[in-house]
């Protein structure tokens, strides 16, 4: 079911004003969440479509015909996921699903692409629900309440999905080596 509506969908949404956002508010949301949303879209859509997916979601908001009910970040993630799934279905009929673009910027990292590639691989191998929680929590810095709203589960479920996902990432990245080394470097 689409999360976009002109009327509040439930009692929780009643607490928030249901009105189109201003351009400045949309810009602010884009500046804050678009890198993480692009990463999120890349886990669902092909390379070619991921950036378009994120842009489409924001352009719909700019059109003024859509309003956000509930938490804005949660709404954005739900919308990007819906758009990405549609994009993936559409493209699967045309070209094979291809992922070549880098998910993470290597700017300023001494280790270059190697660790970034390992992280991409580890994220891609996570179950969808765990990956969603990790991306939202780590790179959009959302609360568990927001993650729960975005994924339609309870706060406890969102938190446990996140912790399972985080644990798997640590195992796959060999966190005992690289992460501990970085932590000791910080000291």
């Amino acid at each position: 079911m689409s999360s976009i509506s002109r009327e509040p969908a439930n009692d929780w949404d009643d607490a928030l004003p249901a009105q189109p956002l201003s351009i400045d508010e949309i810009r602010r949301l884009y500046g804050r969440h678009s890198p993480a949303l692009l990463l999120y879209a890349r886990t669902y859509a092909a390379d070619a479509g991921a950036a378009d997916v994120v842009h489409r979601v924001f352009l719909k908001l700019l059109s003024g015909n859509y309003v956000i009910t509930g938490d804005a970040a949660a709404y954005l993630y739900r919308s990007v996921r819906n758009e990405a799934m549609n994009d993936r279905r559409r493209r699967s009929r045309e070209v094979p699903f291809v992922q070549e673009a880098r998910w993470f910027s290597s700017d300023g990292r001494a280790d270059g692409d190697e660790e970034g590639l390992a992280l991409e691989q580890a994220i891609a191998e996570l179950p969808d629900e765990q990956r969603d929680a990790v991306v939202m929590r780590v790179w959009s810095e959302m609360t568990f309440e927001q993650v729960a709203e975005a994924t339609g589960v309870s706060v406890n479920t969102a938190a446990s999905r996140y912790r399972y996902g985080l644990e798997k990432l640590r195992e796959r990245l060999g966190a005992g080596g690289k992460c501990s080394r970085k932590a000791s470097d910080e000291k």
Partner: protein
């Protein structure tokens, strides 16, 4: 345990997701602030130019009425007199002036037009 989790979160955050292209706002801001300001400036300019054009429109001055013919003296005659005798020229000029020069008291005279301005 919590501390380990936070350290790992910090480690993950040290990887920055690639930035997407800037949002193509131009196509969706037809009535944006810049366009509104530009339209206001254009409207003001058109108004000012129109007002100036109306306010400073040229005044149509009718040509002075022709003076009734009277004993006229030509420029050539005056030149000849001037060459012969300056005093005589002044006298003849004084006599001819009211006849040759346009009347300055009529409603369509040059002085009347200047006085209006």
């Amino acid at each position: 345990m919590k501390s380990e989790e936070q350290k790992f979160e910090a480690y993950l955050r040290s990887f920055r997701p690639v930035q997407p292209q800037p949002l193509p706002l131009a196509a969706h801001s037809f009535f944006g602030p810049r366009r509104i300001v530009a339209a206001a400036v254009a409207a003001t300019l058109i108004g000012v130019v129109s007002w100036l054009a109306l306010e400073h429109a040229p005044i149509h001055v009718k040509a002075p009425a022709k003076v009734a013919s009277s004993p006229q003296i030509s420029a050539a005659t005056l030149t000849r007199i001037g060459l012969d005798d300056e005093h005589t020229l002044e006298v003849r000029m004084d006599e001819a002036a009211p006849v040759i020069l346009p009347c300055c008291r009529g409603p369509h005279s040059s002085l009347a037009a200047l006085a209006k301005e």
